[in-house]
Symmetry: C2
Subunit: 581 residues, 2 copies
């Protein structure tokens, strides 16, 4: 037996007992006549003591040779510590070691195994197995495991079945790029890895399995952006004989349960806003509502003067930044530089300081009087002491710019408290999105999303106006889930494909098996998928998903630890009937 | 709301209530003035009744148009049935329908949606979504979902963490063939899909996560045999600071729990047998011990006469087939033909009938007297009424042949009761396997399996003699799990690679990251993996894994429903920098 207890288990209760522990040498302090060693395992740290009086000589000598991260096994007696550490569960005791076995030696690790490490991101990724020994990463993985078991039990208790769908499927050129897998047994043919189990879960509904979920890896061959992974995990769900309200209630219930169980936070019913309102109020379809700074549209109160910039703008819109009237000219100039960065892309920014005495001082005093500025303050909800930041231009662009500014300022002002949770449903998404270059409509979610009945009439006349039975679940400014009620009849589905520019042949080739299935009695159904990596990160109070994945890939899609991907040898390629170019 | 109740919910308790149900039309009996419809969903069947008296005329007319598998919604009153069906939970009631909505029509399905269907395997696979509507498949998938949640809760409660390991990893030419995935962002390079998370779980142990599990898809590009899938699911487990006994206790505990929870079967401690004993007693390293017919080796009691066939054989071995002394000459000839089939490959079979009067009648009476045959009966445990079947030849071959005969006869005699569960540990597997052609030793399990300490001395002198700390869990003649204690020090691992014929460069290239990790303090560790597909099938009383997979592939690795794999278009290939040959 390697251990009687974990390294986080012993307290004053065990004083006097003989115990055996195993773990890693966290650190060693050798005072010549006495040696203290912090022994670490997954559960905590226990202090070991070796001294001339009580420890056998050979054991003492062996203890002097132990380096950081050696793996050892010790047996000894639990004794009371002289200098107790009340910050540690095991801080009241130490183990006076009688026997010591070195289970494995260790070279000096390339970075320190401490909460705050001296290792940079690249080094930590290359030695991820050492990074995982550090508390922050270890705790994240433990937290992730707790989240998934909580999800599974909640959904199982509600009658959901976890059903595995295949990983080796068929490529569909629609949407993002697939990862593909050459088939050796079927030369020149390829499987694709699923971007999501979308069609399979719909087939399960056709198959009558009315409450499905799966925690499942999905794959998307995208040009990677920061914090995107080519493989990611979804909590994928689908239900039959339900309407949108049923779905929202079910998964709001799940989210409340997770917030309660894992974060100890009780939340009331989640607020709901339409896509249109979200865009108007926050310039964003996944608004962070932990703080205000709602958009105030100013067109009606700013286009009556001689200020051409505003008069020619499609939208003039501002936010009131709380307490920021005290910003110096230099601070405000920096803010203006920030919005002019190419990543944001504003041409400039107008500002109004709302002085404590009720007066206003703006960067456009030449054009607007106090009465005008008072109206702006009213429109943006600005109070004395606030700074109103105003952007103008084409509606879509200016909303995105002001939204970026809003988030940046909230971050700077400490308004994005990771311990506060503000969930929100965004509903009534547009069904279609027009590609500005080609004029072709794309499905905003995917081609199986059903249009709202009351908007059906616009399908041919004004497709952009048609809203979908689609909903996103937003938490703290991040989309954590999204879904829709699906089209379940063949006629509507065919019409959608037509609208999306699929020829009947193309539609048949790519989705034929689903359309075929719909011939045999498809029930009304819909679903939702959560992005597990992000959900776990946000519940854990972070926004970097990489720290919640055991073995993540870097921004070029590489696993630097195992050095993948890598070249294949000729024989492998030949067997697969492929060549590299 | 689509339904107030499921189709399996209503009983006499609800008589008088108005209810709404949704589901599929299972069947319709139209008597002109009255129509009965069986409405089906995942939970059961409820009988609907439409009649001239109580059903509105238009609804009655609509009901007459309903075909099999139409999806409908009905509202009506629960009434007592005149002719009750006590075999059905809902058999005491029916619903007198007042309102009917056709949610979707259905074409006539290509096979009947009944427990016993008229659809062949190929048709059922092509329309798997319809096959899933059938009770046998539906119940299998529900059972599988129950098994996985039970596994997860059991292991979580024991402190195991479920940790996801990556799917896009690196190809290792060792072992079976990998499926590979061309990388677009890293031209000419490929990821591989994992054959198992073996190295990653070992890295997690190096990372200190001492109790890991994962229910995970694995991939193996093999020439497919019946009932093998290119993608399959494993319950993958690993522990640190444990010995073989700890692992066996832990996963015996899990298996007992599953047998209890899912099959209602209590089992005592699992018997254990060494690989050597299993081969000697059953000719097989995964013996079915639900029945006897243990091997009796006969060399010492049959090589003293003039029967050359036996005298020249390395092994003469027999089994006693219970009650088969009554087989006719014709039946026995058929048995002899059976063992001579190329799949079995015996050259012939000697038999002895153990007559009720204590005398013996054999096919070799020319050579052996009653005393000889009595000795044979003793060696094989044959009783009056039994038939002794004897094969002879080279040890390995004859054991495999007699094992095949033993299983076949047990099947014919109904001794393989699927409701009876006989678990068994097989331990002390050989570490290495010699390739008869090349003379090269291969790892029997994988190159990380540790040799038994007491056998280390034979590593250089007699490698075939070295036993491994490796164990298989066998249930009803199927290997349901297997694992080993791993090598955790670099020196032994390097020696193993050398023995397996890896040059240091090859070992470094393929397993460098693992050997590197072992430099930084690897704990003693080991694990086990269950094949989930087979485990679920056996617990479910079946042996065909395909019926327990929602969307299986056929024996050519094709998904005939979605028609995958398939050709890619030129643009896709170009982006991936590959060509098909």
């Amino acid at each position: 037996m390697y251990r009687t207890h974990h390294c986080g288990a012993l307290t004053e209760v065990e004083i006097g007992k003989e115990v055996t522990l195993s773990g890693w040498v966290q650190k060693s302090r050798d005072k010549g006549f006495i040696i203290w060693i912090d022994l670490r395992d997954r559960y905590g740290i226990t202090q070991l003591v070796f001294d001339n009086d009580r420890t056998p000589k050979d054991i003492f000598a062996l203890a002097q040779t132990l380096g950081r991260e050696f793996v050892i096994q010790v047996t000894g007696k639990v004794i009371e510590r002289e200098a107790k550490n009340i910050d540690m569960p095991t801080g009241g005791i130490e183990v006076s070691v009688q026997d010591l076995k070195v289970l494995n030696t260790a070279e000096t690790p390339p970075f320190t195994i401490e909460d705050e490490t001296d290792g940079g991101e690249d080094l930590r990724m290359k030695y991820r197995y050492l990074d995982i020994r550090r508390n922050p990463i270890k705790e994240n993985l433990i937290f992730r495991s707790k989240v998934t078991i909580a999800v599974r039990n909640y959904l199982s208790n509600k009658g959901f079945l976890e059903i595995e769908t295949p990983y080796l499927i068929k490529s569909t050129p629609e949407g993002a790029r697939d990862f593909v897998v050459p088939s050796r047994l079927n030369a020149s043919e390829f499987y694709a890895l699923p971007q999501s189990p979308q069609t399979f879960k719909q087939l399960l509904m056709v198959g009558g399995m009315d409450k499905y979920f799966q925690i499942v890896k999905c794959f998307r061959d995208e040009d990677l952006r920061a914090d995107r992974q080519p493989e990611f995990t979804q909590i994928d769900c689908e239900m039959s004989f339900i309407n949108q309200e049923d779905i929202m209630q079910t998964f709001e219930g799940l989210t409340k349960h997770l917030l309660q169980e894992l974060c100890g936070v009780s939340t009331g019913d989640f607020p709901r806003i339409t896509f249109e309102e979200a865009m108007r109020t926050y310039g964003n379809d996944k608004p962070d509502i932990r703080f205000g700074m709602k958009f105030g549209e100013l067109n009606s109160v700013c286009q009556h003067k001689e200020f051409k910039v505003f008069n020619s703008a499609e939208l003039v819109v501002g936010i009131a930044v709380p307490g920021a009237a005290s910003y110096t000219r230099k601070e405000i100039d920096k803010l203006i530089d920030w919005v002019k960065r190419p990543q944001v892309g504003a041409l400039g920014m107008v500002y109004v300081k709302c002085n404590e005495d009720g007066s206003f001082k703006s960067s456009v005093d030449k054009f607007y009087d106090q009465e005008d500025l008072k109206n702006w303050a009213e429109a943006t909800g600005a109070k004395a002491g606030d700074l109103i930041c105003v952007l103008s231009g084409a509606t879509d662009k200016v909303r995105a710019q002001l939204s970026a500014l809003r988030m940046e300022l909230a971050e700077r002002l400490g308004l994005r408290n990771p311990k506060e949770f503000a969930p929100l449903w965004v509903v009534d998404f547009p069904l279609l999105e027009k590609d500005e270059e080609t004029g072709i409509f794309h499905a905003m979610h995917h081609p199986f999303t059903s249009p709202k009945k009351e908007d059906l009439e616009f399908l041919s006349t004004d497709p952009a106006k048609v809203r979908a039975n689609a909903y996103d679940l937003v938490l703290n400014g991040n989309e954590i889930g999204g879904g829709s009620i699906r089209i379940h009849d063949k006629a509507t589905q065919e019409r959608m494909f037509e609208l999306l520019g699929f020829s009947p042949k193309e539609a048949e080739e790519q989705f034929g098996f689903l359309m075929n299935a719909f011939k045999y009695g498809a029930p009304p159904h819909g679903g939702l998928a959560f992005g597990l990596d992000r959900l776990v990160a946000i519940l854990g109070g972070k926004e970097t998903i990489r720290d919640f994945i055991a073995f993540p890939k870097n921004n070029s899609g590489r696993d630097v630890m195992i050095d993948a991907p890598a070249a294949l040898n000729k024989e492998q390629l030949q067997e697969l009937s492929i060549n590299t170019l």
